[in-house]
């Protein structure tokens, strides 16, 4: 990236659909020394707002983009350089900077693919290299593949990635193949059959983690490794107030405070995020299927099944990641990880740890995948 000692800070691409973002605020001043992972500026997209973190250390010399500006992905936001780089060189670099055009394939390839499994249309996205064991991402209760918007592209740099909308979720058909973890895990296996993928690393968030663990128990040969994120299936506690609130909320006013519980920083819950969830929840059949799912999986306010407690003995590489301030499933469940698991509890993150601490999470996941 660095050219003549100049490191550009560019508009990130968060998720498959992001084309542009708006600079909300700079968090560091010109002349400040920046460390890796430090939030540099806040960017808003039509889906979410988040901080752009420093990929490299350096001295912030120029804030090129101003607060309020809307710019395309990869547009120059700022430049870092050591003091010996002259202002004239910086000016020349900024003047000569061109936003790289989207690669031809980017727009040609469909963002999403729909595959029919057991009569149910399933939305999924595939990215990354053609070879290697793919990484399958399974979202949680009421979620969709968009929950991985800060992760898919980062992991696709090292391995093929597949993210799906579970049946009854996102833009897959609003119906369920059944309401138990076994039903859902065997559906995921048939989905993999349908897209002709024999073996995967599985990353599961929340309910998706319990599904991933169930899949590993049922078909161990199919699962190369497991990463369980704020996962269900490692204990019995769950915030039933959240589950009930999510199922029953019918308006933006009711849903927003419920969804805020997912994050350490509730300001991340934008109007657009709540609107997207409402659009999903208003589809015919969705409130009923969420109710049915929660009654089976979270009977009486407890997790009914804990498949991830039975992983010991499978000899499977397991990573367990939690947000320290998870208000949905307590981070203390990380202690129930199988022996030998790589466990990380990240401060400053809630249940959506893969969104709130995206770069830490991506680094952890890459490390886990490299060792698996």
């Amino acid at each position: 990236m660095a050219e003549h000692g100049i490191t550009p800070i560019v508009m990130p691409k968060w998720g498959l659909e992001m084309r542009e973002g708006t600079v909300a605020d700079w968090l560091v001043d010109e002349g400040a020394r920046i460390s890796v992972g430090q939030p540099i500026l806040d960017v808003e997209t039509d889906k979410i707002s988040n901080a752009v973190e420093a990929p490299d250390p350096g001295l912030l010399r120029r804030r090129v983009a101003q607060a309020g500006e809307t710019l395309p992905v990869k547009a120059l936001l700022g430049v870092m350089a050591e003091p010996e780089v002259s202002d004239a060189d910086l000016d020349a670099y900024i003047a000569a900077y061109e936003v790289p055009a989207a690669a031809d394939g980017d727009d040609a390839a469909p963002l999403y693919i729909w595959t029919t499994v057991d009569g149910l249309k399933v939305r999924h996205a595939r990215r990354g290299p053609d070879t290697g064991v793919p990484v399958l991402f399974i979202h949680g209760f009421g979620g969709d593949l968009g929950n991985w918007l800060f992760n898919l592209d980062a992991i696709a740099e090292v391995a093929p990635v597949i993210a799906l909308d579970l049946p009854g979720h996102g833009q897959s058909d609003p119906r369920l193949p059944g309401t138990t973890l076994t039903d859902l895990a065997s559906f995921v296996a048939r989905f993999l059959d349908a897209i002709d993928v024999p073996r995967v690393h599985v990353v599961g968030h929340s309910m998706g983690g319990a599904i991933a663990a169930q899949l590993a128990l049922a078909q161990p040969a199919r699962v190369a490794s497991l990463a369980l994120v704020g996962s269900a299936g490692l204990g019995s506690e769950i915030n039933s107030g959240y589950i009930d609130g999510f199922v029953t909320a019918t308006s933006r006013r009711d849903l927003k405070p419920v969804v805020e519980q997912l994050f350490d920083n509730p300001a991340l819950v934008t109007r657009q995020l709540v609107d997207e969830l409402l659009k999903y929840k208003r589809l015919d059949g969705v409130p009923e299927l969420l109710g049915a799912l929660s009654r089976t999986l979270f009977t009486g306010g407890r997790q009914a099944a804990q498949p991830a407690l039975a992983l010991e003995g499978l000899g499977l590489p397991v990573a367990v990641v939690w947000g320290a301030s998870d208000r949905i499933i307590p981070a203390s469940h990380a202690a129930n990880a199988p022996p030998g698991a790589r466990v990380a509890v990240l401060p400053g993150a809630g249940h959506m740890v893969m969104m709130e601490k995206a770069s830490d999470f991506n680094a952890l996941l890459r490390g886990h995948l490299a060792e698996s």
Partner: protein, 338 residues
């Protein structure tokens, strides 16, 4: 799955899906099938602008072409609704409501009340509204205030294909008479719409753009004018909050009040004539309920108190513009106290 379709297609899809789901849904109107009595294709017209094209082939005689007698078929639809059907009556242009108004405001709107809550009238009356179509004074009016005035009627006027599908499905499922007004200049407007059925509840305004300096409250085509105004003002650092009421009855005043309490400045925009219109109504209610939050005069932007001109030049001048909204926001901000 979601894909981009036009508002016209969204209307067609909503009716199609509700007819497939519920056999009591029927539809009547002038030329909504078309071709009856001729030798050619029955499904020839699909309504004056082709909105219902293709529905006859799927649902057959549940779509009924009627004579040019609005009072007869709107009355028939109201009666069928009182007897357990869920009729949709299409009126082409809202301007024709005059000939069937007794059936609407004095019959349909009164049944639940006058029969002690025992009667339900789940009828939807759809019609095109609004100016800009070069269709002259009798086919271009924005008559939303007339219906909003009547207790017992629900009044819907959507601005996007997504809202159109969800609000029309809600209208069909609703157990009260609903006046569903479609701005004809938005028929070609495209947006993302899920294929699956969904209903948007009435009485929930949509904050289509967030801002902290001033609030614009509007509905229908004017939502897009307000968004244009917001984009223009953003260049000068003025952040406009734009609220789309979506349904005028019931009205989501809470969302408006919350916004005004944040911004302190209100501009009400309505394509209808300025006397006793939605802008007046919102202004009056905000003054009554949130006077202390106002930091400047409320401004209103409406069409003039004249019939819609047929001259294209005059018609374009008649319709409230983004520039007028920008000017109104500036007046409110300039007249403000700190």
């Amino acid at each position: 799955m979601a894909r981009k379709i036009s508002m016209k297609q969204a209307i067609n899809e909503a009716i199609d899906q509700e007819m497939a789901r519920d056999p009591s849904v029927i539809m009547m109107g002038e030329d909504i099938v078309g071709g009856a009595g001729g030798d050619g294709e029955r499904d020839a017209w699909g309504g004056v602008l082709g909105v219902t094209k293709g529905l006859y082939a799927k649902h057959g005689d549940r779509l009924l072409d009627t004579p040019l007698s609005e009072s007869a078929y709107v009355g028939a639809a109201v009666g069928a609704a009182a007897c357990g059907m869920r009729p949709i009556a299409e009126l082409m242009f809202v301007d024709f409501m005059g000939v069937c108004f007794d059936q609407i405001y004095n019959q349909a709107a009164k049944f639940r009340y006058m029969f002690g809550g025992k009667a339900e009238t789940p009828v939807v009356i759809r019609a095109m509204c609004g100016a800009g179509f070069r269709a002259a004074a009798q086919h271009s009016q924005m008559l939303t205030p007339l219906f909003t005035h009547i207790p017992g009627l629900k009044v819907v006027c959507p601005s996007t294909p997504y809202d159109t599908k969800g609000l029309l499905i809600q209208s069909i499922r609703d157990n009260d008479p609903v006046i569903f007004l479609e701005h004809k200049n938005l028929y070609g407007f495209e947006g993302e719409v899920p294929e699956a059925s969904y209903a948007i509840p009435f009485g929930e305004a949509n904050v289509v753009r967030e801002g902290k300096h001033a609030t614009v409250v509007t509905y229908g085509l004017m939502v897009h004018r307000a968004l244009d105004a917001a984009a223009a003002l953003a260049k000068d650092g003025v952040e406009l909050e734009v609220i789309d009421l979506r349904t005028l009855s019931p009205l989501d005043l809470d969302t408006v009040l919350e916004s005004v309490e944040k911004t302190g400045h209100l501009v009400c925009v309505d394509e209808a004539h300025p006397r006793c219109n939605i802008a007046c109504d919102i202004s009056a209610q905000v003054v009554q309920q949130a006077f202390g939050a106002l930091k400047g005069p409320i401004e209103m932007v409406s069409a003039p108190h004249t019939p819609v001109p047929f001259s294209p030049v005059l018609e374009d001048l008649y319709i409230p513009s983004a520039a007028q909204i920008v000017a109104a926001v500036r007046r409110s901000l300039a007249g403000g106290r700190q």
